[in-house]
């Protein structure tokens, strides 16, 4: 601010681009992981996997889980888990299908209702986690079962079955559940939108700082004037919202809402975040990392079919990737910390 000379010490080391600083970025591990996994399946899967069919198949998967992995990753950075997303996805699908399909209300009412369900579940999660000392893992497992039960009960009560059909109008369908070119699900673009918003929130806005502080040392953050409880509740509401959004997109795409079927999102979203360099104990992680982790996960998930491997091999690869990710997360963190002590 004052003089260029005073600016120098802070600037020289930050503006310069070097392999060293790139390697120390938290995303480095996930980028390497993605490249390795992609090349592996590109060799096995051949031209089809590298062409549009391959890209669309793994991007569709990535978009679905990716929208949820973003806020789940944010919660993990702040030191919390959200298991309840596995129940919010079907709950929002069923809500949307019941409101707009069964009762014939306008699509916007169904969408609004479904998103409200997600926000409400997130709010309840957040309130219980901040007001009691129960770990979020347990709180959100409990809430997951409660929401699952409510969803099933409601569907059976109103519709008498565990699936509710809904045929959206063409405009809603094209915005939320269509395949562009017959291959690329429109939710890929929604995912990009979510990425942009979350990137701004975590890395550009000042509030992002607070999210890291929550996971680093919540007590000190509170002393420094960070509204920790409010922030945590908001983060849980974000993940509820994102899970509800995916539920809506599913209903629009498949024109039917299933009471069960959200469970894979629980572990998949956490895995995407961890493969993307989010540290399980909180305090570190990045949006780019979570996106790369999601892409890696999706490539393995779909690459298996293109490579004509036994699907069980895919599970083994994902398991191994997860372990490798946790190990490299640790060593990259050590590298990042060593930066300060070894520089001089």
């Amino acid at each position: 601010m004052s003089s260029p000379a005073a600016n120098a010490p802070a600037d020289t080391a930050t503006s310069g681009f070097s392999i060293g600083s790139l390697i120390r970025r938290p995303e480095a591990g996930s980028l390497i992981g993605f490249v390795v996994v992609y090349i592996f399946f590109a060799i096995l899967g051949g031209a089809v996997f590298m062409g549009a069919p391959g890209w669309s198949s793994w991007l569709n998967i990535a978009a679905e889980v990716g929208i949820i992995a973003l806020p789940v990753g944010l919660l993990m950075i702040s030191g919390e888990f959200d298991i309840s997303v596995g129940a919010v996805v079907p709950a929002s699908s069923v809500t949307c299908a019941l409101l707009s399909g069964q009762f014939g209300l306008p699509a916007i009412v169904g969408i609004g209702g479904a998103l409200s369900v997600g926000l409400l579940v997130g709010f309840v999660n957040g309130m219980i986690v901040t007001r009691t000392s129960i770990p979020s893992l347990i709180v959100t497992i409990g809430i997951m079962f409660a929401v699952m039960g409510l969803t099933l009960g409601l569907a059976v009560l109103v519709k008498g079955s565990t699936s509710v059909g809904y045929v959206p109008d063409p405009l809603t369908k094209s915005l939320l559940g269509t395949f562009i070119g017959g291959m690329f699900n429109v939710s890929i673009f929604w995912w990009m939108g979510f990425i942009a918003v979350f990137f701004y929130f975590l890395h550009i806005s000042p509030i992002g700082n607070w999210v890291f502080a929550l996971g680093g040392d919540a007590e000190s953050a509170r002393n420094a004037g960070v509204p920790t409880a409010k922030l945590k509740v908001s983060l849980f509401m974000m993940s509820g919202f994102a899970a509800a959004f995916v539920g809506i997109a599913q209903v629009m795409t498949y024109q039917s809402a299933q009471v069960a079927g959200g469970q894979p999102f629980i572990f998949n979203s956490i895995m995407c975040a961890v493969i993307g360099g989010v540290i399980l104990t909180g305090g570190a992680g990045s949006i780019i990392g979570i996106v790369l982790g999601t892409m890696t996960f999706a490539v393995v998930n779909q690459g298996i079919f293109f490579a004509r491997l036994d699907p069980n091999v895919g599970s083994i690869i994902i398991g191994a990737l997860l372990l490798a990710a946790v190990l490299t997360n640790d060593s990259f963190r050590a590298l990042a910390l060593s930066y300060a002590t070894k520089k001089k």
Partner: protein, 276 residues
């Protein structure tokens, strides 16, 4: 005593939790540009006293005066707004975050337009590095470094520099040297002196008499929640202070007693009777 201005004063402050009296009739004056060393063994009530000063607890009886005016803090934030900052052992720093982000936690500098605020990393890093260097820590020259890579002393210094930058007038340091090695502790003591030179009132809590004697102008020894001694620099020797902290028992006597016992019992220290 001293002609320096009294910033913070305690008058006959009592603090009890239910039926348990933790602090009893504490009267203290904290002056600007002076270091008050609060000495005492574990359980003497040091933590309760600083929490009362920092607005975490309210006094049960008695008065706290800031600039001569009686105040009742509504919480830690209120005390901070009045310029009373507490720095704990690890300084409230976040190991996996950068120096700049640590420094401005909760008060991030922003740029940008309207609702789209942008965290101003350059400005934060620059100010953080400048302020820390002013405090004499020249090894920190890059605001993007992670705090976890700094030494314990540097982390303390960062936290102190932060408190000073955000307008602290009274700095409460809770055992800042307890977990540090000799060199690191010297580091922190230098920073304490620097803060004092800048006219801050420092309350330095420790049970290391050597550290206290290095920087202290004024000493208060706390025993079982009461002030057992209140004296100024040079009025007592190190041995006298240590004896005071040990509850008035002469350290030399204690040493002799233990040695005598060990000689009579094949070099074994005296057996401590377990509590019931």
């Amino acid at each position: 005593m001293s002609d320096k201005k009294v910033v913070l004063e305690l008058k006959n402050v009592d603090k009890s939790f239910g039926p348990i009296d933790v602090l009893h009739e504490i009267s203290l004056k904290v002056r600007e540009g002076e270091v008050l060393c609060l000495l005492g063994d574990n359980g003497a009530g040091k933590s309760t006293l600083i929490k009362t000063l920092a607005g975490v607890h309210n006094a049960t009886r008695g008065e706290i005066l800031v600039d001569g005016e009686p105040v009742i803090f509504s919480g830690p934030r209120d005390a901070q707004d009045r310029g009373i900052a507490t720095v704990h052992q690890f300084g409230g720093t976040y190991p996996l975050m950068s120096v700049g982000r640590n420094f401005f936690m909760g008060q991030e500098p922003t740029k940008g337009f309207g609702p789209f605020k942008v965290y101003d990393r350059k400005k934060a890093n620059k100010i953080a590095v400048e302020e820390v260097q002013k405090m004499g820590i020249t090894r920190i020259d890059d605001g993007d470094r992670l705090v976890g890579g700094l030494s314990g002393g540097e982390r303390q210094s960062l936290a102190i520099a932060r408190a000073v930058y955000f307008g602290a007038r009274v700095l409460i340091l809770d055992e800042p040297t307890a977990a540090l090695g000799v060199k690191q502790a010297a580091h922190v003591l230098r920073i304490v002196n620097e803060a004092k030179k800048r006219g801050l009132a420092v309350i330095f809590i420790t049970h290391q008499v050597m550290h206290a004697m290095t920087v202290g102008d004024h000493f208060a020894v706390l025993i079982r929640g009461a002030i057992a001694a209140d004296f100024r620099k040079g009025e007592k020797t190190r041995e006298e202070i240590t004896d005071l902290m040990a509850g008035g028992q002469n350290m030399a006597d204690l040493e002799q007693e233990i040695e005598g016992y060990m000689e009579a019992h094949d070099g074994h220290p005296p057996k401590v009777e377990p509590a019931e």
